[in-house]
């Protein structure tokens, strides 16, 4: 079934860009309501302490203050998969930066002044900062009450009496025997520090408490329905009592996927008698209070035959969850079932532990654990190739998943999964893999090449669903309503393209509302996991088909012909054999009126939905099952030049191939690749939290925490898209949003090993770290 596509697959420009280049786009902090108050948050200076006493009196006395709250005022627990968190710390603080008290006042200055006057008496408690230490039997417990916390059962397995929030096991074959029998073995350990998402817009929420415990919220969030659902659970309110609006969102990257400042804004508004309250995270709080990406300690053992076939892989992943589980437990789960890379491996054992520590907590971040585990796996693959004397690309080629192979959770790899081998070959070709680099630009510089694979599937509940509604306007144009959020990815433009394609409308006559509103726009689970174009796209296709059914029925009745004979295209409906009797969409959209005044039909509103299919819970003991709606595969190849005097790495060329299944919008897809690669460079070269020995974050600002700037671009970037269609994907498409960031560190680490002969195992590959490695080698005889 081939059909010519008119709109899908073209670079339709984003209509939201017009609002954004003119300053008209309204983000949460641009909204203002009559009587709106401003909030400030007091955070903990200690990583672990008992709250002995909080004195709020002086704060209440500050002119303009309308509400002051501390944790003792609020006896509710929050959580996504594991309900372990408070709106404001109660009894104990578990990380430096944790909110302890908050003030709402007429002005932000007054709120901040009141916060300064709050007196908190702490009694410091033992703390634990390294998740490996936290696994020791005598480690201080971050959550002594873990046993009493509600959690998603059957999926997550917290271990009461320990700091383990979740332990994910993957067991396939007999890894111990296979490792023992392997011709060649390697073992290596790696580390990724925690990092921040750094959306340009920090977290911000406005809440207005209404009568009957109702509340209306405007928030910078990726997931309006999840905000509503979790608030409903923690406040004990019916869903309809909570209305969540999401205006334009200034970046998310996973950091705004769950519940953020909405609960605090809600309780402050209630305490202030229903005045609307705006809570905005300062940039320092964005680093130090709102969640980050978890750190990871990896230990990986690989066994292979002499001819380069991987026979066994054993990995232990110890995640630094920080003080609360949030998405971290699901990161530990997802990264485990992806935790051997995109390879066919018969014998595999993975233990992924998500471990509480007294640090700022982790959450989802673009790549959802995959950048971290593949930092280890893809570096280890190179070490194995070297030990075998094989070219790293050829070694990977021999072991990549191919049709008929099974993944480590027992999923059959089919033609509809895409082609990892083609991704590898495409990037290798792009950087002239196998040919030596050109001469370095100076005698003290050296060049090297590296390659790395990537893969990821959406990590989502087995029953994840979403819906789309399309309503036709008086002029025959279409309005698409969804509740996934376009916080920059470009999905709304893609959904408009899909609706235009399916309805036979020009793109200019398809609109998509930019304000999600749980009272008005239809359900979507969350905008995470690179699944919005896939699931939302399928829902829009179904909604368009529903519109066409309704148009067809009315047109058939109006024309006195059988519905089967009606064709809808180019904004008209007509009997296939009688194009001259066409009725325009405009004359059908609200119902058709006969010449005598009689009318039939009514406003056309189509409805479509999509639910994940065929997913299973993973077996708690073996991890076997089907976790993924689809997988996206890709690869990076990179050529670098290293300055051996300064330790600086320059990226000469990075080629990125992603098997997109179908490129729905080339401009947007290219934007995702370039943006993802540069964000990945941040994780590779620059970014990482630094803590002092008391667990205090030392670099919570742009002065001390650098992200890539326009000066840090590679000399050349080559995005490559493959189009091996995805079974079940809209037009064969699969998600590509997170993937370009994954494995950027691995490819560069491999290139660095090629250039210097040094295996770096810790990120970031800062000039300091690279130079220390060079100096250490020079001192070692």
């Amino acid at each position: 079934m081939t059909r010519e596509l008119r709109v899908v697959g073209t670079s339709v420009l984003r209509d939201d860009a017009i609002d954004k280049v003119t300053g008209a786009a309204r983000y949460t902090t641009d909204l203002a309501f009559p009587g709106m108050l401003h909030a400030a948050i007091l955070t903990s200076p200690h990583a672990s302490a008992r709250i002995v006493h909080v004195d709020l009196e002086a704060a209440r006395a500050v002119p303009g203050v309308r509400a002051v709250l501390a944790g003792s005022d609020l006896d509710v627990r929050l959580g996504l998969y594991l309900r372990d968190k408070r709106i404001l710390a109660r009894d104990v603080v578990r990380y430096q930066g944790e909110p302890v008290a908050a003030v709402a006042a007429d002005t932000l200055d007054a709120a901040r002044e009141a916060c300064r006057r709050i007196r908190v008496e702490y009694d410091e408690l033992p703390a634990v900062f390294d998740p490996r230490d936290a696994m020791a039997a005598d480690a201080p417990l971050v959550h002594p009450d873990l046993a009493s916390y509600d959690h998603m059962r059957g999926v997550f397995f917290p271990k009461p009496g320990t700091n383990v929030a979740h332990h994910q096991k993957i067991r396939k074959g007999d890894v111990r025997a296979s490792l023992a029998a392997a011709d060649v073995r390697i073992e290596a350990s790696f580390y990724n520090p925690p990092v921040q998402h750094v959306p340009m817009e920090t977290h911000a929420s406005i809440a207005q408490a209404l009568p009957e415990s109702r509340v209306e919220i405007w928030t910078s969030s990726q997931s309006p329905y999840t905000v509503r659902h979790l608030l409903s659970a923690c406040l004990g309110l019916p869903h309809a009592a909570i209305r969540v609006h999401v205006p334009y969102v200034g970046g998310g990257f996973g950091g705004k996927a769950g519940l953020g400042l909405e609960p605090l804004a809600t309780v402050l508004s209630r305490a202030a008698g229903g005045r609307p309250v705006l809570v905005t995270a300062t940039r320092e709080q964005e680093f130090n209070t709102t969640p980050s990406r978890q750190g990871l300690h990896s230990t990986i053992k690989i066994g292979a035959t002499r001819d380069g076939r991987i026979t066994a892989l054993e990995a232990t992943y110890v995640w630094d969850a920080g003080a609360y589980a949030d998405y971290g437990v699901n990161v530990g789960r997802a990264a485990a079932y992806s935790g051997a890379g995109p390879y066919a491996i018969d014998h595999c054992s993975i233990d992924s532990y998500v471990v509480y520590t007294n640090k700022v907590y982790g959450t989802a971040y673009r790549g959802f654990g995959h950048l971290e585990v593949l930092w280890g796996i893809e570096r280890a693959m190179d070490q194995m190739a070297r030990k075998l004397g094989l070219d790293p690309a050829e070694f990977r080629r021999r072991n990549l998943l191919k049709e008929g192979a099974t993944t480590i959770t027992g999923e059959l790899f089919t033609a509809g999964h895409g082609k990892p081998v083609e991704c590898l070959d495409a990037v290798a070709k792009a950087i002239d893999w196998g040919r030596p680099s050109g001469a370095p630009s100076a005698p003290h510089k050296v060049r090297g090449k590296g390659i790395a694979m990537l893969h990821k599937a959406p990590a989502m509940p087995t029953y994840t669903s979403c819906a789309a509604v399309i309503k036709l306007d008086e002029d025959g144009a279409a309005d698409v309503l969804v509740s996934g959020v376009d916080y920059g990815q470009g999905t709304y433009t893609v959904l408009r393209q899909i609706a235009a394609e399916e309805l036979g409308l020009p793109i200019g006559k398809v609109h998509l509302t930019w304000d999600c509103d749980t009272a008005l726009t239809p359900y979507d689970w969350q905008t995470v996991a690179s699944r919005f174009s896939y699931m939302g796209g399928n829902a829009v296709i179904e909604a368009a088909a529903d519109c066409l059914r309704q148009l067809t029925a009315v047109a058939a009745q109006a024309l006195g012909v059988a519905p089967e004979t009606i064709v809808c295209q180019d904004e008209v409906a007509f009997p296939a054999a009688e194009p001259d009797r066409a009725i325009s969409y405009k004359d059908l959209a609200l119902g058709y009126t006969f010449p005598n005044g009689n009318a039939i039909g009514g406003p056309i509103i189509g409805h479509g939905r999509f639910i994940a299919t065929g997913l299973t819970h993973l077996d708690p003991e073996t991890g076997q099952g089907r976790p993924a709606q689809f997988w996206t595969y890709g690869a990076h190849a990179v050529e670098i030049e290293v300055d051996t005097e300064t330790g600086e790495i320059e990226i000469l060329h990075i080629a990125t191939a992603v098997d997109a299944g179908k490129v729905l919008n080339p401009l947007s897809c290219t934007g995702q690749v370039i943006g993802g690669v540069v964000q990945g460079l941040g994780s590779t070269l620059l970014e990482g939290f630094q803590f002092d020995d008391k667990g205090r974050l030392l670099n919570p600002s742009f002065v001390d925490y650098k992200i890539p700037t326009a000066k840090d671009l590679p000399r050349r970037m080559t995005p490559i898209f493959l189009e091996n269609p995805q079974s079940g994907g809209p037009y064969g498409a699969r998600g590509v949003a997170e993937h370009p960031m994954i494995s950027v560190p691995s490819a560069i680490g491999n290139a660095l090993a090629d250039a210097l002969g040094i295996d770096y195992t810790v990120l970031p590959l800062s000039p300091e770290r690279v130079l220390l490695g060079i100096q250490k080698r020079e001192k070692t005889p």
């Binding site: 860009a17 750094v198 200034g250 370039i674």
Partner: protein, 194 residues
């Protein structure tokens, strides 16, 4: 003068220009990203020079001209610079965009024909987490080239805000310049429906 309008106000000495613009004049296009002059999201032109409005006191702007992103489009039409941002895919979440546009405007004001290095230098103080910068740098380059071509050929006609045909015209004229900051960008696309 703010965007060509005379504004008169009495303000507290500690009020920043950013607060004045956003809270007093409701010019919320200018964003706050960090509050300490490190991210560039609040860039505006003060007497034609780019400044971070969070580090300037409102009283310091007394008697000066201030230009914000809201003043960039004229007569309901996007400026060439704004159109270049739309067309190149230089806008994703959009939160850094107003500051980016003002930094670029400041550059093009003092040098209508900047070199690639000058573009990078001028934009390096503005952080963006979504786009990876390449498209933004392309947009500035494209705008410079298009304005030069426009000067040579007389004004463009028939544009409207957001008009895609107009956008395509701009792209068509300068299409060869598009990929300068994304050298080698290519799409190896296979027929998805073999």
């Amino acid at each position: 003068m703010v965007n060509g309008h005379m504004e008169t106000a009495s303000v507290p000495s500690g009020l920043t220009l950013l607060e004045f613009l956003r809270d007093r004049l409701y010019l919320t296009g200018t964003k706050e990203g960090c509050g300490i002059g490190e991210c560039g999201a609040c860039t505006v032109l003060l007497d034609e020079k780019p400044v971070t409005a969070c580090l300037v006191l409102a009283v310091e702007a007394d008697g000066c001209t201030v230009e914000t992103v809201e003043g960039e489009a004229a007569d309901g039409q996007l400026s060439v610079l704004q159109r270049a941002f739309v067309e190149t895919g230089a806008v994703q979440c959009g939160f850094c965009t107003p500051g980016m546009i003002m930094s670029a405007r400041g550059l093009l004001r003092r040098d209508p024909n900047p070199s690639d290095n000058e573009i990078v230098e001028a934009m390096a103080g503005n952080l963006c987490r979504c786009t990876g910068y390449a498209a933004i740098l392309e947009a500035v380059r494209l705008a410079a080239v298009a304005v030069a071509a426009q000067r040579a050929a007389g004004p463009l006609t028939g544009e409207t805000v957001g008009s895609q045909p107009a956008a395509e015209t701009l792209m068509g004229e300068t299409g060869t310049e598009r990929r300068r900051f994304l050298r080698g960008a290519e799409s190896t696309r296979k027929d998805g429906r073999r």
